[in-house]
């Protein structure tokens, strides 16, 4: 778009300049006013660039203005010392005609291919490029290429999966949330975590999540998070479909994530592309809300496992106690059966008693028999029996049995016992 203060043709303008020169003092060279020279340049520029042309370069000082216009500076890629620069303007209307998410395509330090018309804005004497189209496939291709190169580099170093391979704690309660405080992402995560009623301990580190300075801010936030010794770090950024992932495709951010010794969860709020940060993170989720929900679900699952283990331990403990109790009861029962043992002893004793009794009886019987036998013998030798048979027993006065004639003398008084009495007699040897 070319700006004119008034509608004049190039020839008219030149004529005007010549007229002015001739009307001035003859020793003065023709002299133009600033507006005139600006107009002349503007016209020369618009004539020189009658059609839009393609130009490529790196974006710097990108500014998505609230008016809807987008401003940035284009510089030659890879030329760090004194590069050529030119301001670029993408007007709101032109922007609306370009397919694709401009916040994703346009990013700081990114090489882009733009269809532009050079424009000299006469009032300010400012040269700029007016964008009419963007080669999105060039830009996206470049982004993809850069991503691939970085991923291959990290893979080759063997660090690509370093964070992913860290074990996710069973109860990730201590969290560090790196996000732009008061952003939609911040509220989404905090609200979800609070609603869960799980006692998460959340430390929030404010960081610039897109645009100039975001890389330094995110890397510094990640480093800073270490002092809180979190179980997990959440790197979240909202913004729905409109997203600028450039920061999360940088090597600095990727390496900062890799260097963390706790899992980093990303929720960068993009729908289609996956950034390098997502790929080196422990887990990548589409949105901050999904990040929070993932954590909540993970903690709930762990809690359920713990609850069920606790229940199992409780059951098993009581079973053990029950078994022990039964065992003691059984032993107790066996001990109680001692009375049976005593009964057995008694029975045995009773047996002894009976056997003793019978032995005694036998012994007594035998004794009785012996007694009878001896009685009979005695009976047969009883003097009375002998007397009965007609024998007699003679004793002297001293009671001594008279066995021989020599035992007596004449006149001795003898006592003779017969079966039915005693006969007294006097000895008369009668020689």
């Amino acid at each position: 778009m070319i700006n004119h203060n008034k509608e004049v043709s190039r020839d008219d303008l030149i004529q005007e300049v010549l007229d002015f020169a001739s009307s001035s003092s003859s020793d003065l060279e023709p002299t133009l006013s600033v507006s005139e020279i600006n107009e002349a340049i503007s016209m020369a520029v618009s004539e020189a660039f009658s059609e839009d042309i393609w130009v490529k370069g790196e974006i710097q000082r990108l500014n998505f203005h609230s008016s809807g216009h987008i401003y940035f500076t284009l510089v030659d890629a890879g030329k760090s010392s004194a590069p050529s620069t030119i301001p670029v303007t993408l007007l709101k209307w032109s922007a609306s005609q370009i397919k694709g998410d401009l916040r994703e395509i346009l990013a700081e330090d990114r090489e882009v291919r733009l269809k532009v018309r050079p424009d000299f804005y006469a009032p300010y004497g400012k040269m700029s490029l007016q964008v009419s189209d963007i080669d999105t496939s060039f830009t996206l291709g470049n982004i993809a290429l850069a991503r691939r190169v970085l991923l291959e580099k990290l893979e080759k170093e063997g660090v690509l999966r370093d964070n992913a391979l860290l074990p996710l704690p069973q109860l990730p309660i201590n969290l560090v949330l790196i996000t732009s405080v008061e952003s939609a992402a911040y509220h989404d995560v905090i609200d979800q975590l609070r609603l869960s009623e799980i006692g998460f301990n959340i430390k929030v580190i404010n960081a610039l999540m897109q645009g100039h300075g975001s890389v330094v801010s995110v890397v510094s936030a990640l480093k800073h998070s270490k002092k809180y010794s979190p179980d997990v770090i959440l790197l979240c950024r909202g913004g729905g479909a409109k997203s600028d992932l450039a920061c999360f495709d940088t090597e600095e951010v990727a390496r900062a994530i890799i260097a963390m010794d706790v899992p980093v969860l990303t929720g960068l709020g993009h729908q289609i592309d996956v950034s390098v940060a997502d790929l080196v993170a422990h887990i990548s989720l589409k949105t901050p809300t999904a990040c929070a929900q993932f954590l909540i679900e993970h903690v709930r699952e762990a809690t359920e496992v713990i609850d069920s283990l606790a229940e199992e331990i409780k059951d098993k403990t009581f079973n053990v106690l029950q078994t022990k109790e039964t065992r003691i009861a059984n032993i107790s029962q066996r001990i109680a059966e001692t009375s049976y043992l005593l009964d057995q002893c008694e029975i045995r004793l009773e047996g002894y008693k009976i056997s003793i009794k019978s032995s005694v009886k036998t012994a007594l019987a035998r004794a009785h028999e012996q007694q009878t036998f001896f009685k009979a013998i005695l009976k047969s030798s009883d003097p009375a029996r002998i007397l009965e048979r007609g024998f007699s027993l003679t004793t002297d006065t001293t009671g001594k049995i008279v066995r021989s004639v020599k035992d007596v003398s004449d006149g001795d008084i003898l006592s003779t016992r017969v079966v039915d009495g005693e006969i007294k007699s006097t000895v008369n040897k009668g020689k």
């Binding site: 009581f318 022990k324 003691i328 032993i331 001990i335 043992l341």
Partner: protein, 67 residues
């Protein structure tokens, strides 16, 4: 006979109880030892039951606190 000391542990008590029970199973136990053994067995049973009860109480308390 002097009373035997308290068992060192539940396991020790059960072991001794099993010994006494086996002895009594034998039926040929010396009758003079019988009352002594039964008395000891009762002491051990009481010890074991108390131990089980106290463990059960402790476990219930722990589980209650955990909830």
């Amino acid at each position: 006979m002097p009373a035997k000391k308290e068992p060192k542990s539940y396991a020790e008590a059960v072991e001794e109880l099993e010994e006494i029970a086996s002895l009594l199973d034998d039926r040929n136990i010396d009758i003079d030892l019988l009352s002594e053994k039964v008395k000891r067995a009762h002491e051990l049973v009481e010890f074991c039951q108390k131990r089980i009860e106290s463990v059960r109480f402790e476990v219930e308390n722990i589980l209650e606190e955990a909830q």
